[in-house]
Every structure is written in structure tokens, then in C-alpha cells.
């Protein structure tokens, strides 16, 4: 069974710059969590979008667009949506899932079974190292024996 656990994402340490790629991932997660909370409240409340638009004094198409995807809402927009939907307010707290994850999964368990160990530079998009890894995986796939049912 091939799975894809990796050791690539870790908590920041020292003064090392965080890549914009990592920040992009974390930002997207945050947007999606906000979106989940708002849509969950919307479904629970049963309020229709037209009423929500009236409560917020916004055009229906604006509200429709806001609810279509996890967009980069301003903090006030998130707050307004939650309160207007059901009178809810967001509960804000910090978590450390990456540090917890390291404790739960020793390195030897989270190394990909199938892939060679990759250096940080290997995964810069389009590098020769990256292409070589993909070629290696494809070669492994072609060479692997096919299990035959009894």
C-alpha cells in the first residue's frame, strides 16, 4: 500500500524565513476552516441567502459570491457573516498540530514507503531532481510484480 506521509511541513524555528509556499498552504487552510464554520452555521440555521443579504444590507449576488468558496475574507466579513447567520461569534484559539504530529509519528514511520528520501531543493518545481524522482517512481511502478488472486 503506498501512502504519502511526508516530513516536509514543520513548525518554524529560529530566524529561518518561511517560504511563501508554506504560508500559502497555511493561509488556505485557515480560509477553509473559516468557510467550514460559516457554511455549517448556514446549513444549521436554515436561513436563505436572500434573508442573509437583507440582514447584512448587501446585494444577494455579493452574499452568493462570498459563500461560493473559501475566499480571503476580511476579519470583519467573517464576523459579520457568522453573526448575521445565527447570532454566532467565532471562538478563536491557537493549535499546534505540527508539533503534535511529530510526537505521534516517528520519522521512520512517516517516511514515504515508496519514494526515495528527498532533499529540500529537489522539490523546487520543474527541477531536474524532481523529474528524476517522478521517473524513478514510474520505473518502480513498471517493475513492481502484479499480485495474482488465488
Amino acid at each position: 500500500m503506498s501512502t504519502s506521509q511526508t516530513t516536509g511541513l514543520s513548525e518554524p524555528v529560529g530566524s529561518e524565513k518561511i517560504s511563501v509556499g508554506t504560508l500559502g498552504y497555511i493561509r488556505a487552510r485557515h480560509r477553509q476552516r473559516q468557510y467550514d464554520v460559516v457554511i455549517r452555521e448556514l446549513k444549521k440555521s436554515g436561513i436563505i441567502q436572500a434573508d442573509l443579504a437583507r440582514r447584512l444590507d448587501k446585494a444577494p449576488e455579493v452574499v452568493s459570491r462570498l459563500l461560493a468558496r473559501p475566499g480571503n475574507w476580511e476579519s470583519d466579513t467573517f464576523s459579520d457573516l457568522l453573526f448575521a447567520i445565527s447570532g454566532a461569534v467565532a471562538s478563536v484559539h491557537a493549535e499546534h498540530p505540527l508539533s503534535q504530529r511529530v510526537e505521534e509519528f516517528p520519522a521512520e514511520q512517516i517516511k514515504p514507503e515508496s519514494a526515495p528520501i528527498r532533499s529540500k531543493s529537489a522539490f523546487a518545481l520543474g527541477t531536474e531532481a524532481n523529474n528524476a524522482i517522478i521517473d524513478e517512481w514510474k520505473k518502480q511502478a513498471q517493475d513492481a510484480p502484479i499480485p495474482i488472486a488465488a
Binding site: T6, N72, I133
Partner: protein, 212 residues
């Protein structure tokens, strides 16, 4: 759970899959239940073989590991680009967004879904592509807003189990139909004549969605 052989793993997966599909004791007519079960069984057997041969990979969430509500299977090409570290470049930022989309799917997050390829809102996160009967879907990464985003095509193997085969930056797809053709070819190469899962309504494809 420890499996002693791939056959045991397959049996467990088929049984679990059947329960996931609601095939046991469901309200669907018996004929429909069996049709769904047989389709999933045949795809599942092939999928297990492809996973063993490393032609496909089961993605795990960067935050929750294999403790996920949904399943995402990806091609080696996709796994390579969504595996961190993400580079300190614009490309890295976009690929970080792509991975976040996939992890959100895995973790059971809300997904806005457009069923009609001709009338999809620009912000839909997942959209059916034409021809509808081929059952291919486009993963639509529309952030960062100042970019054209990323599109990744694939199909459902079962409810809440998506198989993502190809990807590209949106600006790298001049003719979208060609991308669908490429997805169809990739699927055929892996699964032969067995197409992606076909359902009567969105409820049969995934949970926790929002039709847009």
C-alpha cells in the same frame, strides 16, 4: 489496523466501501445497490493493484495523517508537486494552495460543487466537466486571487473517494477539452474500460458539499 496480506486488505476495503456507500440496509432498490457494489468492487481491486505498483498513491493530510473523513488518490506527478516543502516562489505559493485544497477534501471540509458544466459559478471548488456522461470532475483551485489558479482532473471511485490524475496551472490549459481528453486517457490507462463512479445525485458522490 494491520493487514496480513493484500487480499485481506482488499476484503476489508470492499466491505468498508460497501458500508460507506450505504449499500447494506440502504433504502435503494436491491438492483441499484448491487450495481453500485459491483462497480466499486471492480474499481477497488484495480485500485489496490495500482497502489501496490506505485502507479497511484493514497494521499494523507499533512495535519491529520491517515485520520481523514474522505479519501484522495493521486498520480505520482501530483504527489510530487503537492509534497512539501513548498518553494519560496509564486509557483510554491500556488502549489501550497493546491495541497490545502486536497487536504481540505481529505479532512471532510465543505466543498462547493457545480454539477452543470455550462453554468458553473467562477468560484466553484469542484465542477463536473463535459461530456457529463464520462464522469470527470475538475478540482478548481481559484486562489491566490491574483493568479489563474490550478485545475486538476479526475473522477470518483466511490462516495467521498476521489482519484486525481492530472493537473496544470490554469493558464497552461489553452483548450480545456484537451485536458479532459488527457484525463480520460490517463484513466483508461489505469482502469481500462471501467469508468469513474456514476451517481444519480451529488449525495451519491460526496458528503458535506454545497451545490452552487
Amino acid at each position: 489496523m494491520t493487514f496480513y496480506s493484500w487480499r485481506q486488505a482488499l476484503r476489508v476495503r470492499i466491505t468498508a466501501g460497501a458500508f460507506n456507500l450505504g449499500l447494506y440496509g440502504s433504502r435503494f432498490p436491491r438492483k441499484q445497490r448491487y450495481r453500485g457494489l459491483l462497480t466499486y468492487m471492480s474499481i477497488c481491486a484495480t485500485l489496490m493493484r495500482l497502489l501496490r505498483r506505485h502507479r497511484l498513491f493514497e494521499l494523507e493530510s499533512l495535519f491529520t495523517g491517515n485520520d481523514t473523513a474522505r479519501t484522495m488518490i493521486v498520480s505520482p506527478d501530483i504527489l510530487a508537486v503537492v509534497t512539501p516543502p513548498f518553494s519560496d516562489t509564486e509557483h510554491g505559493r500556488r502549489l501550497g494552495e493546491f495541497r490545502a485544497w486536497l487536504d481540505n477534501f481529505l479532512e471532510g471540509g465543505e466543498v462547493s460543487v457545480a454539477e452543470d458544466p455550462q453554468q458553473k459559478p467562477p468560484d466553484a471548488m469542484l465542477a463536473r466537466v463535459t461530456p457529463v456522461e464520462d464522469e470527470f470532475w475538475s478540482v478548481r483551485v481559484t486562489e491566490p486571487e491574483d493568479t489563474a489558479g490550478i485545475r486538476s482532473l479526475g473522477g470518483f471511485g466511490a462516495k467521498d473517494k476521489f482519484i486525481c490524475l492530472i493537473w496544470d496551472f490554469r493558464e497552461g490549459i489553452p483548450v480545456f477539452d484537451d485536458e479532459v481528453d488527457a484525463a480520460r486517457d490517463a484513466w483508461r490507462d489505469l482502469f481500462g474500460s471501467r469508468g469513474p463512479m456514476s451517481g444519480e445525485s451529488l449525495d451519491e458522490y460526496l458528503t458535506n458539499y454545497r451545490a452552487v
